[in-house]
Structures are given as C-alpha cells and as structure tokens.
Symmetry: C2
Subunit: 157 residues, 2 copies
C-alpha cells in the first residue's frame, strides 16, 4: 500500500461528490435519516467554498472525512470549531485514520485562529468518549466535575 | 411598571455596552472566567453587526439577554442556531422573562430560515433541563433514548 494513499488533507469542492456519499453512508449505517448523497453533495459544493465549513479527508478518493463548522463566540477572540461528523469507512477502521484526522484538525484549527473545538458524543458511546479524551477533549467544565447535555429542537416544517 | 419596559426585542450594536455587562455579570455570578465587560462589549460591537451572532434582549436598558450564533450544517437546508447564553439579572428571575426570550427566539429563528436550535445544559441543572423541555427542546436522539454529552478542547495558548 502506498503510504500516501491515506494521507490526510483539506478537502475542496472537488471532493463534494465523494464526501456526500461518505456522509450518506454514515447515516445509513447508523440508522439516521439522510436527504441522500446528491442533496448532500449539492450542499457541500456551496458549503466547502463558503469559509464556514471545512472538511478534512483521508485518501484520494476519500475513505474518511471530518466535517467541521466554524462560528464566532463572544468568550473567545478567535473562532469556535464544531466537529459535526467523523466517519471512516467500515473496512478501514482500527488503522488510526480517525486519529490522523483529529491530529490534522488540531493543527488546521490553530492555523485558522480557532480557540475552542467542540463535539457532541453519545452518552453510551464509551469508545468514542475515550477516543476524544485521548485527543485532549474533556466533557467537564473548568473547575467543576459537571458535564453538559446537548439539547436540540428541530423547527423545520 | 410600564408593560413595555420588559418587551423582548432584537438587539443591535447600540446594546453592546449593556450586553457586555450582563454577560460579564453572568460569568462572575457563576464563578466562570470573563475577559471583562469592556472586552465583551468590543467583541459584541463586531459580532452583532456581522450577521452570524444575534442577541435578543428584554427591556431598555436590557435586564436579560439571549445570545445566539448561527452556522451552516450539511444535514439541513437552513441554518443551525446555538443558544450560547441565556441570562436574566437575579432580581428579575421567576417573572417569565427567560420564557419570553425563548419564545421570541423561536419566532426569530423561523424568520431566519433556521432549521435546528441547540443548547448545552449542565448535567445537574434539572431546572434548566425542565425549562428547555417545556419550550420544545429534547436531549434524546430521534428514535433513540440516548442523550449526547458536550466535549470540548480549548486550544488557546
């Protein structure tokens, strides 16, 4: 195997087709709704050129993706980055590809003046919680043992 | 008391001074770090004119604030709104001001083509969890009893 084959890199709009398929496969695998790979591709073509969404991928064509959105926050001089999705195709798991993407995300975030990186992790997904803790994330507030739950409300009609 | 005195409204950059003080008082009350009201005011003057941060306030001068940031998301055609902060000055709590701000937020979000509203709520803050549930929020994923924890990593140096 060519060691460069799985090199992580920043995605651009030319990767929208492949990333749309990866994200659709992600939600299909975990039984979550998806608008379909074509709709996702069309949105990604807009988003990846817009400066508020970035994707890191592994390989060409990509076999893994980290999708990140940026936003401002009054408590920080820089930006806040939320890791919306991290997906590795099933047959390539356990090979350090997710870790490589997170490591790449941390260096990319520093270069983009990001001050805070966030991710929501399922309460029962202890493996994912350990994975993010290994990469420097924590669920507890500063000076407190308390975690926070993610609450949401869909207002589409 | 004039019933209009606590009317909720969208804030503009002229409210940056008052909101900066409210947010500083918020973090001071709960023992969280704050860069100071003046730094917050300067950031709010930038953010409130930028279209990615909105604030709803109650009263003139404001005695309560809901601070919201907007971002794109590949799973939605519209935007995602995160309620970063909701603060009511101590002497005005229990008067429905927080509920009025959330109600105003929901109508404002619809007008802005927001599809999803999010907030992170402390694990032990059952009162806040009940408050958001009364206003239509949930912590569980669709078709699942599972909640998600908020993980974060500060990368400022």
């Amino acid at each position: 195997m060519n060691p460069d084959q799985h090199a992580t890199r920043s995605a651009n709009v030319d990767d929208a087709h492949a990333i749309g398929h990866l994200l659709h496969d992600f939600n299909t695998e975990f039984g979550e709704p998806s608008p379909g790979a074509e709709v996702l591709e069309a949105r990604l073509r807009m988003l990846l050129g817009g400066g508020r969404t970035l994707a890191l991928v592994s390989g060409t064509p990509p076999i893994a993706v980290a999708l990140v959105t940026l936003r401002p926050n009054v408590w920080y001089a820089g930006q806040v980055a939320l890791l919306d999705e991290l997906y590795v195709v099933p047959e390539r798991r356990g090979q350090g590809i997710g870790s490589a993407l997170i490591t790449h995300l941390l260096s990319t975030a520093l270069a983009l003046s990001v001050d805070l990186i966030e991710i929501n992790v399922d309460e029962g997904d202890v493996d994912a919680q350990r994975f993010y803790q290994r990469h420097g994330f924590t669920a507890v507030a500063p000076d407190s043992p308390e975690r926070a739950f993610y609450y949401w409300q869909d207002i589409t009609f």
